[in-house]
Amino acid sequence: MSVLVIAEHDGKLLKPGTTNTVTAAAKIGGDIVVLVAGHQCADAAQAAAKITGVSKVLLADSPLYAGGAAENLTALIQTVAAQYSHILAPATGYGKNFMPRLSALLDVQQISDISAVVSADTFVRPIYAGNAMATVQSADKIKVITVRATGFDAAAEGGSAAVEILAAGPDTGLAKFNGQELSKSDRPELTAARIIVSGGRGMGSGDNFKILEALADKLGAAVGASRAAVDSGYVPNDYQVGQTGKIVAPELYIAVGISGAIQHLAGMKDSKVIIAINKDPEAPIFAVADYWLVEDLFKAVPEMTQQV
């Protein structure tokens, strides 16, 4: 058995989900090879080589792999896919984009978003926004899998794998990358943060998010949001936590002015400690909260910022 892990990175550093995916690979067993594909990403390949348990790193460095465009990336992975029993990537926006494409090219039914490995062919995955957990078994020759980072610990540093150059694959010419507009922030990334402060429609405006940011900065936390806050234009789309946004499981999740719809809970209910501040004593978010406070957020949040 040999497992290929597709790394998510920014050219220099690995994105947090990659190391968790390596842990999932280790649970499956066999050699672990990490593919770092991108443009000017030699540093990221070096970072991958240091992950414990990785036996080899493949580096495919070409302008063809700038951005996350799926067409050329899947064509590249196809050139090596047959050598592996399993191909894994993090179940992030990055992995979810190209992995199904790869899977179809290999005539394999992908297993999405696994949260546990039962055996080399059997996995647990949440369905219905996490309201049910399905154990599924794959009969496909190659298992193509996306990994829910919150289900696995991050693999430690300590390896020293060799980095091998993988020649670029064909240019499919199907899509042209015109750049990314990335939200800039000095705060930690949502999926990597130890503490997250999230705001919902109750925040009332984008401007009011300043009071959450003040609390977040005091705690060294990331800022997240519900879909309603994103749809209302208070914050950018990449803040969204939930079934169709980001899945997070920090040490501490602070939900402010969020009612607790199942789609939101789907993204945060595995957090270690959850606190909720809401003025409605019946808010469903309280059902998953370890500590909950019924109060106006405009009073409670500034107070909290002062006291922490």
């Binding site: 190209f98 199904p100 999405s112 049910a132 599924v136 990358f177 015109n178 990449d238």
Partner: protein, 249 residues
């Protein structure tokens, strides 16, 4: 140009889902069903493009039991022109759906296929990208804006750090994200009109597709429950609990 849109019938997103006690799946008997929300956004997009004069015909496709005809009728009430049901008795997994959609695309020759980014029942998030792969077409997954310019489309995709812009060649497959549009409500007159629109029923065999599931469901269980929390009186107590009891700050 012709557009093909896929619509899936799923449990209504606001219904509390219950796991069956025998562990074989979730309860679907007597449960309110609805069109998958991302498919609604896909239909809406096609209808807006038709209203803008870019699209000439909208074909909607659903894979499922006979009851999925209702979902097709809803799509036609929103403005789609005709429907195709691929009738399958059991579960159709995303790869099978993608193969069926490809077979229909081969016959219908649309210039654009719009699918939801994810079905909110299986939460697979696969069928659109798979369809693009099988057709050898470019894909734009998680799309929040699309502008067609002749033989290409400029698209904006939602990615984890923000937004990504691509120019893709047509024909292509686009999957919808929440911010692409807000679907319209169907009106009674349009529901009546939709009843007269053509709806074709096909079998997978007629399309030459084997829909046998590749993934076997061993069991379905309830997720682990969180233990009950406590209500605190004020911020002071909250901060004290976080520091001394939970020790997370």
């Amino acid at each position: 140009m012709k557009v093909l849109v896929t619509v899936k019938r799923v449990i209504d997103p606001y219904v509390k889902v219950r796991v069956k006690s025998d562990g074989t799946g979730v309860e679907t008997a007597n449960v309110k069903m609805a069109m998958n929300p991302f498919c609604e956004i896909a239909v809406e997009q096609a209808v807006r493009m038709k209203e803008a004069g870019i699209v000439t015909e909208i074909v909607v496709v659903s894979v499922g039991t006979q009851q999925s005809q209702e979902t097709l009728r809803t799509a036609m009430a929103m403005g789609a022109d005709r429907g195709i049901l691929v009738e399958v008795a059991g579960e159709a997994q995303p790869l099978a759906v993608a193969k069926l959609v490809k077979a229909i695309v081969d016959k219908e020759q649309p210039k654009l296929v719009i699918m939801g980014k994810q079905a909110i029942d299986d939460d697979s998030n696969q069928a659109g990208q798979m369809t693009a792969a099988l057709l050898g077409w470019p894909q734009s997954a998680f799309t929040s804006a699309i502008a067609v310019n002749g033989d290409t489309a400029d698209v904006t995709r939602e990615i984890d750090g923000g937004l990504e812009k691509l120019t893709i060649k047509l024909p292509a497959v686009v999957t919808t994200d929440l911010r692409l549009n807000e679907p319209r409500y169907v009106t009674l007159p349009n529901i009546m009109k939709a009843k007269k629109k053509p709806l074709e029923v096909l079998k997978p065999e007629a399309l030459g597709v084997d829909v046998t599931p590749r993934l076997k469901t061993i069991k379905v269980e309830e997720p682990a429950k969180r233990s009950a929390g406590v209500k605190v009186a004020d911020v002071q107590e909250l901060v004290a609990k976080l520091k001394n009891e939970a020790r997370v700050i």
